[in-house]
């Protein structure tokens, strides 16, 4: 056993010495490799954590949202519509919601205006999300004017700012009193944006939805399950940016591996010949190269992953912000709770470490089975 370890260490010694000979090239390769793992791992960790976070937070959203459709588009709920929902068994509570979008030309940002059904906001006052606090420099007690779509200027007093911890869902919110909301948007009285239904028994939800669409053919029930599913699929690692990045990265990796695979120089071949002539077995040479592949790919994986972990969970995935932000002016600042999906890590490991180790071995195999007397003849 001791002998075996010593032998492996000799092989590592040798493979490191030959790597050190082309130091810049090999360090560059390791750098690119680490970067690749870093990007892939960052995306995987980030989307996974965001998915978990979304699932956890949105689990509290209403069981059913009922929209009314006109010509296939979301339309206002007219007066009396809520009553037409009638008494459906299982529905505990039904209430009309008032919310809409407002474009603030000052900072060129979109806000979500909303009326909390539970109340809590006085007339003439608003409660703003943390991103608004930043972008408009608002604090409790400040006044702010918005020009409504009809051209009139409305002034509100900021009563409160929503907690920063909830920014992921509340960054752009402006909560106001119902009367203010209707006045600001010229919202016809009695109309609502949509209806939120509370269903106590989760097993009933689907039934309720079916009954709703039967009773109100122009309605569209949106179930909480669907909401959760939508977010699961948005952040599903196979989708969106992950897929794009992954395919590009894997392609790049393929090129890298190919470069390595076809990159067995005449010098390296000669070296293998010498090693065989002085008493190395084919197996020793392959093991030596295996160590090379393993050392490089394992180092790249571990370093890349740890860096990605720090990036996502301790530096708030700063590098992704521009991509995720897109064109939005208001962007939530949030800290994700660290979550690691074992399967994801295993997949990442398999797809980064394994192909590289194999790519290193393939050409060596060909070179190593050549006769050792080649060095004498050459």
């Amino acid at each position: 056993m001791k002998q075996w370890i010593e032998k492996q260490r000799y092989l590592i010694d040798f493979t490191l010495a030959s790597l050190a000979r082309r130091k810049t090239r090999n360090l560059g390769l390791l750098g690119v490799y680490i970067l690749l793992v870093f990007v892939l791992a960052s995306v995987a960790l980030y989307t996974h954590a965001l998915r978990i976070e979304a699932g956890k937070v949105l689990a509290a959203s209403p069981e059913v949202i009922l929209q009314r459709l006109v010509a296939g588009r979301h339309d206002l709920i007219p007066p009396g519509y809520i009553d037409r929902v009638g008494r459906i068994r299982g529905v505990q509570k039904k209430e009309g919601r008032l919310w809409g979008y407002y474009y603030d030309a000052v900072v060129k940002a979109n806000y979500t205006f909303m009326v909390p059904n539970a109340g809590g906001v006085e007339k003439g006052e608003i409660v703003v999300g943390p991103a608004l606090e930043r972008s408009r420099g608002l604090a409790a007690g400040n006044g702010i004017s918005f020009r409504s779509y009809s051209g009139k200027l409305h002034t509100f007093i900021v009563a409160d700012v929503l907690p920063q911890a909830s920014e992921l869902v509340s960054a752009d919110l402006v909560l106001m009193h119902e009367e203010d909301f209707r006045a600001f948007f010229d919202y016809p009285s009695g109309h609502f944006t949509d209806i939120a239904l509370t269903v106590a028994n989760p097993l009933e939800v689907r039934n309720v939805a079916l009954k709703l669409s039967a009773a109100l053919p122009d309605s569209r029930p949106i179930l909480r399950d669907e909401v959760l599913r939508t977010y699961a699929s948005i952040f599903d690692w196979r989708e969106g940016i992950v897929l794009a990045l992954l395919s590009a990265a894997i392609l790049a990796f393929g090129i890298l591996a190919w470069e390595k695979a076809s990159g067995l120089s005449a010098d390296e071949k000669r070296e293998i010949g010498i090693l065989k002539a002085i008493g190395w077995e084919t197996g020793d040479i392959i093991k030596m190269k295996f160590w090379e592949g393993l050392l490089i790919s394992l180092t790249a994986f571990l370093v890349g992953f740890v860096a990605a972990y720090l990036h996502v969970f301790y530096y708030a995935a700063t590098l992704f912000e521009p991509v995720l932000k897109g064109w939005s002016v208001l962007y939530p600042r949030f800290q994700l709770t660290p979550h690691i999906d074992g399967l994801q890590v295993a997949t990442l490991f398999f797809f980064t470490v394994f192909p590289y180790a194999a790519a290193v071995l393939v050409p060596i195999w060909k070179a190593a089975i050549t006769d050792p007397d080649a060095v004498m003849r050459g």
């Binding site: 032998k7 000799y10 090693l275 190395w280 006769d371 007397d373 060095v375 004498m376």
Partner: protein, 225 residues
């Protein structure tokens, strides 16, 4: 020590450029003697060296090492025999660039997995014997031709082989260095090692150190010495 009988060796067998480098060799190499193979280039002496040193297998015929037939052994066993029994000094020295003299010397012992301390001690002793101790940490590409050869000799001896095989050892050396090499050879012979070398350098083959000269031409032995 080594017996060759009916040895033939072909390159590119079965192809249009088929070439028989050796054409019926019968030769016995005695232990503890210095044997030199002499012949013009293309006479097959280097090919014969590769067969004796288990670097290659004959196309026909048998190679016996200490009465044991080794011509049919699989590669693994051949490698082990080679490592234990033979030390090689190549014409081009064939040192690994980028490694130090010391690292080059202990290279043949890597597959054995011996403790590094022992190996290094042995290598240092060998280097000191050849008066090269001061160059042990130098990269081999910085060494002169004579120094490189001495490193190659040390490397050949690291596994303490019974036989040393040298291919045209003086071809890249001037007269002074060639004489030094012959002195080293004499010392090796004095230690009781079997030595087999190829050369057409009169300095080597006419030296008193060489016990026997075998003349070759066109893949056959013309004078058994």
């Amino acid at each position: 020590m080594i017996e060759l009988s009916g040895i033939r060796k072909a390159f590119n067998q079965g192809q249009h450029n088929e070439y028989w480098a050796l054409n019926g060799i019968d030769l016995a190499i005695e232990a503890n003697k210095v044997t030199a193979l002499r012949g013009p280039s293309g006479s097959g002496k280097t090919t014969l060296l590769t067969l004796v040193g288990c670097l290659a297998r004959p196309t026909e015929g048998r190679v016996r090492l200490k009465r044991e037939d080794i011509s049919g052994l699989p590669e693994r066993f051949l490698t082990e025999i080679r490592r234990r029994t033979f030390g090689f000094i190549f014409q081009q020295f064939n040192l690994i660039k980028g490694l130090t003299a010391l690292e080059n010397i202990i290279l043949p012992a890597y597959p054995t997995g011996q403790p590094r301390r022992e190996l290094l001690e042995r290598a240092e002793t060998l280097l000191a014997n050849l008066k090269l101790g001061h160059r042990r940490d130098a990269k081999v590409e910085w060494l002169s031709g004579g120094e490189q050869q001495r490193v190659a000799i040390c490397r050949a001896l690291i596994n303490d082989p019974e036989a040393v095989i040298a291919d045209e050892p003086t071809a890249n050396l001037d007269t002074h260095l060639a004489k030094e090499f012959m002195a080293i050879l004499e010392a090796l012979a004095g230690e009781g090692r079997t030595i087999l070398l190829t050369s057409h350098d009169p300095l080597v083959v006419e030296s008193a150190v060489v016990d026997r000269v075998v003349d070759m031409r066109d893949g056959v032995i013309v004078d058994c010495g």
